[in-house]
Symmetry: C2
């Protein structure tokens, strides 16, 4: 029977710390402020935005919304980003992507000032993750994996970590952040041969494939810690992950649930980045 690495206590601890830092900033006359920039109204975006607004409200981060119609022109969005960059009262910016087709993703990302890029979408933030330096902020979901591992005091230094999936939003930055903790990291991709045996070598397995139930008993063994980044709706209409939880749970030492795992921690990471950006802006 595995320990279930629930997100809730991680979130509670992060919220408490963020709220205290927010209060300290307000005492110095600064209200940490997040710009939410959304084009159109995709249900996924709206749902995530709702979570961000709630979380921000609880810890004392102010939110300014910038909403553009789905058929907005690239220039309009660039204007909004320029406004966000120029406003010293805005400390961080969440920009929903993927953007509609009329936008050039690269141009838009490049327009955002890295110091306000609290969601790790600029090249500055990604260089920061790769070089382990304080430019921008890592992608929130990747950092959420690390926050869970740290909160539950999972040893990483000298341990084998396998990251399955190499997206720039999760897999690659998570691999770099595990390396930063002195884990020996293997980054797997869709061409990887004998994935089950490779996963079994790991002390920590981070699964970010975006494939429902792709990882199960044949990939896992006793003593492992499994972090499941996937989120899907199964045939019964229930939320589930990339890991077959019913197979993992009796086998491994610890596993994050879906729902209630990595996903719940992501917004707290985001809010923490806004607070940090406000602290940095204050100097």
């Amino acid at each position: 029977m595995a320990t279930i690495l629930k997100g809730a206590p991680v979130v509670a601890a992060m919220n408490e710390a963020n709220a205290a830092r927010c209060a300290a900033l307000k005492a110095r006359g600064v209200t940490p402020t997040l710009a939410v920039v959304r084009v159109g109204a995709r249900p996924d975006d709206l749902s995530y935005e709702k979570g961000v607004l709630t979380r921000c409200g609880k810890v004392g981060v102010e939110v300014k919304q910038f909403l553009l119609p789905e058929d907005a022109a690239q220039e309009q969005l660039l204007d909004v980003i320029a406004q966000v960059n120029a406003d010293p009262a805005i400390h961080g910016c969440l920009l929903f992507r993927p953007l509609p087709k009329q936008f050039d993703d690269r141009t838009i990302r490049a327009a955002l000032a890295p110091e306000k890029d609290i969601d790790g979408i600029t090249d500055g933030s990604l260089a920061g993750v790769f070089t382990n330096s304080a430019i921008g902020y890592p992608p929130c979901t990747a950092q959420a994996c690390l926050e869970i591992l740290k909160y539950y005091q999972v040893p990483l230094s000298g341990k084998r970590a396998v990251v399955v999936g190499r997206s720039l939003v999760v897999g690659k930055p998570a691999a770099m952040m595990l390396d930063r903790e002195n884990a020996t990291v293997t980054l797997c991709n869709s061409r990887t041969r004998n994935l089950p045996a490779l996963c079994q070598e790991a002390d920590v397995v981070v699964v970010a494939m975006g494939k429902q139930g792709a990882i199960g008993g044949e990939h896992l063994r006793a003593g492992q810690v499994v972090v499941d980044v996937g989120i899907h709706v199964n045939a019964e209409g229930k939320l589930c992950g990339d890991v077959r939880f019913d197979e993992a749970e009796p086998l491994v030492e610890a596993v994050t649930p879906v729902p209630g795992g990595v996903g719940t921690v992501t917004t707290s990471v985001l809010v923490g980045h806004v607070v940090e950006a406000a602290e940095k802006a204050l100097g």
Copy 2:
């Protein structure tokens, strides 16, 4: 008896291609030009510079030297970099590092325009390597490893690669470039446990530890391809690598020699970047 993956034929092929591209650029009125910026006169720098000058001369790349005394001020070097950035006749810049103590490395690196950063020292170049996008250029030694593997048609897709050493000059960028070729890459560091067994799992082992003779028979097996990035002078005054060549050679399928391996390819990569930068500048 391993195949010796000598640098010489790789260099010959690259020089031929670079010379042809140079000639094509000159026919369009452009002479690919490299700025070499050196502070002081360290013997290592002078030796590398000599190699670069020779290689550039052979393929038709022009070199402009900017030499500063060892006690130059940071402002002087920043002025030189600004001059390099602003000069459309200069396509790439090689800046020798480490710099003397009075310089702030981060500030200096940030000053160079990524499009002229043919040696992969800017955050732009490193973001490019991490995100697999066309910003700047990868560090030359890391790319030299890949050039050798490609020249000798070593299969990488779906193969296991182990990179030992995680510097930003070789290990980490080499890991990203192997991932780009769809290898399954494990990045090892000084805390890695059971390195011999881990290395033996790999089809391709890239050794960039900077430790003379650290990798030997106990780390290797039949069928492997070994790339040795290390370069040291042994007790007999001879050049040698991180790999104990006498143990590797009878055991593995192929191995790069030291000297005559990775190091010889590095300047060709550098010159190739200058040519590419000139092509890009021409549009």
